[in-house]
Amino acid sequence: MVFSSHIFLFYFLPLALLLYFAVPNRGKHAMLTLTSYLFYGWANPLFVVLMLISTLIDYLCGLVISGQLGKGSSGPPGTLEKGGPRTSRQKAAVVLSICSNLALLGFFKYFNFATESYDAVVAALGLPGLDLDLAFRVTLPLGISFYTFQSMSYSIDLYRGDARAIRNFVDFACYVSMFPQLVAGPIIRFQEIADQLTFRTHTFEKFARGVAFLCMGLAKKILLANTCGKVADVVFGAAGASTLDAWYGIVAYAFQIYYDFSAYSDMAIGLGLMLGFVFPKNFDSPYRSQSITEFWRRWHISLSTWLRDYLYIPLGGNRKGARRTYVNLALVMILGGLWHGAAWTFLIWGAIHGVMLALERLGGKTSLYSGWPKPLRIALTFAIVCLAWVFFRADDIPHALRYLSALFGLSQVPDGARMAGAIIYQPYYLAGFSLAGLLAWFGRPTWDFTRRITPAKAALMLGLFVLSVVLLTTQSFNPFIYFIF
């Protein structure tokens, strides 16, 4: 079920809100969990079982780590001493939690990739491959990249002494499955929400702010992301492109992925607010970055901080010398790339960012062009990000290389591909593209724009909601890009 769909906006959401507010406080988490499981099962009912098993394992591991398993107590469990000793049971429990989550992720996400890569390698050597039957192709469960990372953060935070275990299974299941952020984030770390699971307020101000976020998010998706996405799809789907078309296409894709993903995050934050939860910011005008280092402080913040805290720092971070720091940065970004998708193109995308981060670290965490005027620093950073996006968007490495050739005028344009101009230069797409660019660099982010809500702003936001719904009727299927991760 997609947020930007008729059935979600006009059937699931009103029902979920009605049920949530109809039950007394102590039943709210159970109701939210039920509706979240319904939301998740809508994509594929069988995957609900998978999420339930994962939740159960992490819940039990959490109790073992915190020493609460089998203990009945009315008071909240305490936190473990930070840096203190841990028993072998506790160690085993955190390892089990991490391994089970990584095993799930590894199998469902990377099995097909591994077998195809193996077949490609052996075929190149003239050897017979596995050539598995279609029956062995694994379907990727929706949101698995998100909820496994989320669950792992719980176990690791408990083990580190950064959080307190949840004794109530329903509360924990609610944390893992909560529908606003289940399928495409933000990745909510347990410590970011632990207190709110115990106590949170439900006020008209919060709900109205949530409405504001939801309206802005939906408008971003329908009016900006989809418009730019059409341009990107046409150019990337063509047999070739002129230099102008290629740059137009990749910048359109940069806008598409930004507005698509930040729209989802806005809607998730808005829905969370309606339910009384406050989720952290996930995007902070990333295309205004003046370096790649800064870009990763502004883009998909929940993922970059997760990777920093659970991968980069445990690997040693910057504490083991310069060379190791660069290796750690590159490794974390490569794994971050692979997290996005099981394909060599995502790995290369991650590697590009990793190399850039390492080079900037070499220069003291500033860009290689830090001495240039600010607009140029922003433009160059954006250009580097766009060149990396080519690998993110392309079907495979040859496609990415062909696209890069087109960007630099090094390829021929077949006659068929010349038709793309008839679509992408229509005023409708040029207007949407221009508006997307203006807002990306000069507009106020949703967090800032909705901080003060006047009657005029409220009317604007509800008006944007209505306009988005009207346009939605002309679009039959509106998935978010990050649903595929």
Partner: protein
């Protein structure tokens, strides 16, 4: 310096929303009204209708249906679970699709909104592009011509891996299917003639993009030449209408396709049939005594299928119906309208390009289609198996089914003409179908 957690920062930012409590309540209630009014109005409408059935509640039937699927499925618990899950998933998808299509909101807004987008912003929809001078183009046709080479190895491999446990993967390589079919027919002493019908945008790129002119040659997918070469190397006869139709454009400048429909004009079809008949006479010797067919012009007016796909309000004038003259074929002796003759030496397997002007339900007249015109130009009877859509496999599948039932459609045939839309080369499932 105090370091705030991301949660603390978020709470501070959210907690400082500057909004009056009155406005907050108004916004909350306004939003709830907006999202609540739609389903309530929908249910009220459905309850007051003749059927009195609230569609949104029908989802609850999915559970007993899934349970039934589980109980009746063959195999162990795992297989039964998969079957039940597949049934449930299908039910959910059908439900969502029906909710969208029967929605009061969609029915009220879709047509009007689409009309505004098309009239003032030149926008098509997910199935149609709006070209120049209000010409409509079917999106899959444009995607085929504009898109990557359909015989590119990486692309073929990707397409072959798009299946899952619910949907089988397509067989994406047309050469395998066509050459296999050719060999099966040759073993029966039958010649196969393949007729890949070009798309509108291929022949009229100038009506789609200002980067082309009326003098521009046909624009094809890059793999088309490779396909034709490989088929001819394997001994398959190919009749490519592109050259014929291009000649007609060069001769009189007239469009060979309907303005708001995916298909060719009656004259383009007749011209193609005439030239195909010439080629068949050179390739195949017909032993049957001919029949005498005559033609009568008939005027037909209809709204193009792409205009229909735009889902515009009834009575819209942006894409008015088109009027064409078709040549209805009849038998001179009896005066009866043309009919397929199963003892004919010619079998036509065709898609909607063959059906248009023949199948009355398409709205473009009858007895004037491709099979009929072939009969007229050859003055020979023709038998036809024609199915709209899925030209890559539908008619071969139907042929195989007939043969399996003991209906030897191939008996006495000297030639099988296989006509399909060329977009199938990029999008079709080219199943290998063994003939019994």
């Amino acid at each position: 310096m105090e370091t705030l957690s991301r949660e603390d920062i978020a709470k501070r930012e959210i907690g400082n929303t500057d909004i009056s409590s009155r406005l907050a309540r108004a916004m909350t209630l306004g939003f709830l009204f907006l999202i609540g009014a739609v389903p309530v109005a929908q249910m009220a409408l459905e309850l007051s209708s003749e059927q009195g059935r609230v569609h949104s509640l029908t989802i609850f039937k999915a559970i007993p249906e899934a349970a039934d699927a589980f109980l009746t499925a063959q195999g162990g618990p795992y297989r039964k679970t998969l079957q039940a899950n597949a049934r449930l998933l299908q039910r959910i998808r059908d439900y969502e699709s029906e909710m969208d299509s029967t929605s009061l909101l969609t029915r009220t807004l879709l047509g009007r909104c689409q009309l505004l987008l098309s009239r003032y912003l030149g926008q098509g929809n997910e199935k149609a592009y709006l070209g120049r001078r209000d010409w409509l183009f079917f999106r899959p046709d444009v995607d085929h011509v504009m898109g990557p080479p359909f015989l590119d190895a990486a692309r073929l491999r990707r397409r072959s891996l798009t299946g899952n446990e619910f949907t089988p993967s397509p067989q994406p390589d047309p050469r395998q299917a066509i050459i296999d079919f050719h060999r099966q027919l040759r073993a029966r002493g039958i010649t196969l003639v393949v007729v890949p019908t070009p798309t509108k945008v291929s022949l009229h790129p100038d009506l789609f993009s200002p980067r082309f002119t009326i003098e521009s040659p046909p624009v094809e997918n890059e793999s088309t030449a490779t396909l034709l070469h490989d088929l001819e190397a394997a001994g398959v006869r190919v009749f490519d209408p592109s050259a014929v139709l291009r000649e007609a454009i060069a001769f009189n400048g007239m469009p060979q396709y309907l303005k708001t429909d995916t298909h060719w004009t009656p004259s383009a079809m007749e011209h193609t049939a005439a030239r195909l008949a010439d080629s068949l006479r050179a390739w195949v010797g017909f032993s049957q005594a001919g029949r005498t067919y005559i033609r009568t012009p008939v005027r037909v007016t209809q709204t193009g299928d792409i205009a229909v796909m735009m889902k515009l309000p009834a009575g819209q004038t942006l894409f008015p119906p088109e009027s064409v003259s078709i040549m209805q074929v009849s038998e001179e002796r009896s005066g009866a309208p043309w009919r397929a003759v199963n003892t004919a030496e010619i079998l036509l397997l065709g898609d909607s390009f063959s059906n248009i002007y023949s199948l009355g339900t398409m709205g473009w007249g009858q007895s004037g289609g491709f099979a009929e015109q072939l009969s007229y130009y050859l003055q020979q009877p023709v038998y036809a198996i024609v199915q709209n859509d899925a030209g890559a496999h539908a008619t071969r599948q139907a042929l195989a089914a007939r043969l399996t039932r003991g209906d030897d459609v191939l008996a006495g045939k000297r030639v099988v003409i296989w006509q399909f839309a060329s977009r199938e080369l990029s999008l079709g499932d080219w199943k290998i179908i063994p003939l019994p």
